[in-house]
Chain length 252, copies 2
């Protein structure tokens, strides 16, 4: 028997069961795509009721560790972990963190600058023609003055995603999802009003040109100017707010 009941004492049976199964998955005792025992069997082998087993399984499903299927060939299966699903989860949580103001915009911009500069460097070394084309395509979108602000911001996010993808480094891409899905949107949300699209697009173009020419330093420099512009725009927003809300305290 793969799963054992761990001498439970008091509370949180569902939690303990889910932890038990989770560690079985992590340890490799349960392999990918393997089918778990039926819920009834689990209930019997753990000595608990089926709804409790189901609560435990739901926890795992919420963490994208298993998925379920009905019918004779159905059951609960160990899910192949996918970076996509992980990035979705990260995105949601990081967005919440940003939403409650856990980070201030200054440190977000600094983090963006430093980590995206890394991407520029690696991109210059590893980018393919397809990567360059993807970035150029987004710049083309950004130069179209008829699109909405939302579309512009979405294209901005896709541009940076393409930049990250062009590094060809899986672990780095995983880390950068947080930046792309949470930090870029929040910076955009703040500065999109005062930002000039053409200027942003031209800085994007500089990055692509440098990456195409394998000039990592140039790309990093263009990125630095892009984020300096973002920082500047942010200050402009702050000033405007200060002037509007509390005219006597316009400096801070």
């Amino acid at each position: 028997m793969i799963l054992k009941y761990d001498e439970v004492v008091r509370t949180g049976i569902a939690r303990q069961v889910s932890d038990n199964i989770r560690s079985a998955i992590m340890d490799g005792r349960l392999k990918i795509d393997e089918r778990l025992p039926t819920e009834e069997e689990l209930a019997r082998s753990f000595g608990i009721s089926r709804p409790t087993v189901r609560e435990a399984l739901k926890r795992l499903a919420a963490q994208n560790l298993i998925h379920s299927k009905r019918g004779p060939t159905g059951g609960n299966f160990v899910k192949r972990p996918d970076p996509e699903g992980l990035s979705k989860a990260i995105t949601g949580a990081a967005t919440l963190l940003v939403g409650i103001g856990a980070f201030d915009i200054e440190e977000i911009i600094t983090a963006r600058l430093e980590t995206e500069a890394v991407c520029c460097r690696l991109s210059a070394a590893n980018r393919s023609e397809a990567d360059l084309a993807a970035m150029e395509a987004e710049i083309a979108v950004q130069l179209d003055e008829t699109i909405s602000d939302e579309d512009f911001c979405a294209s901005d996010v896709r541009f940076h995603r393409a930049l990250v993808d062009s590094t060809g480094n899986g672990p780095l891409k995983l880390m950068m999802y947080t930046v792309i899905e949470a930090f870029i949107p929040i910076t955009n949300m703040i500065v999109f009003r005062v930002r000039e699209r053409r200027h942003v697009a031209s800085l994007h173009q500089e990055i692509v040109d440098a990456v195409r020419a394998r000039k990592d330093a140039k790309a990093a420099d263009a990125l630095a100017r892009l984020l300096a512009y973002v920082r500047e725009s942010y200050s402009a927003v702050l000033d405007a707010r200060a002037k509007r809300d509390v005219p006597s305290q316009a400096s801070a």
Copy 2:
């Protein structure tokens, strides 16, 4: 009424309910620390049974969005999103990805080198005396030859964590947890046999010295040599394996 039943059509009631509540939290319709209606009330207002409501709530609990408390003042409460919890989740998933071999060690080392170099740079600018002391303390542990390999690796992880913390950049710390909790352990797991502790500790010391002296370039250089050593050790492990397993195919 805050929560509404969304004209469900077919399957996945629990899922729909959890999505419904989740978006209420994300939108801010449910604020932090606010108490949800009791499970019974939720069941009534959604027109479903309490076990189903509980499954939905378990999903949210698994995503660290709510927590529950028993008793008269108990209930299900919207949880304040914390970077710790998020990093735990990321770590677990990233560890799984590493475990199934989604990334190869080369790209992990590259990602570590680039991102930790960023930390060196920011650390040199922002480190406090307490940060330096924390790093020194770990080096002291690493110089104690009586400790086990596990303890040495754990101290190694804590050293790098201290380095990341010393940047004082919240968003960056969030991203770096993936490196610290998933990527460093996996690299350690592979190379710990052939690595010389004293050499590793002395490179750690070089990093601290450079950071103390506000020399970001020197710190980054020491880090680069540390990871070059890791890469070298990894090659040694590979060679040893090749020689042992398939003597005729020792190159790759």
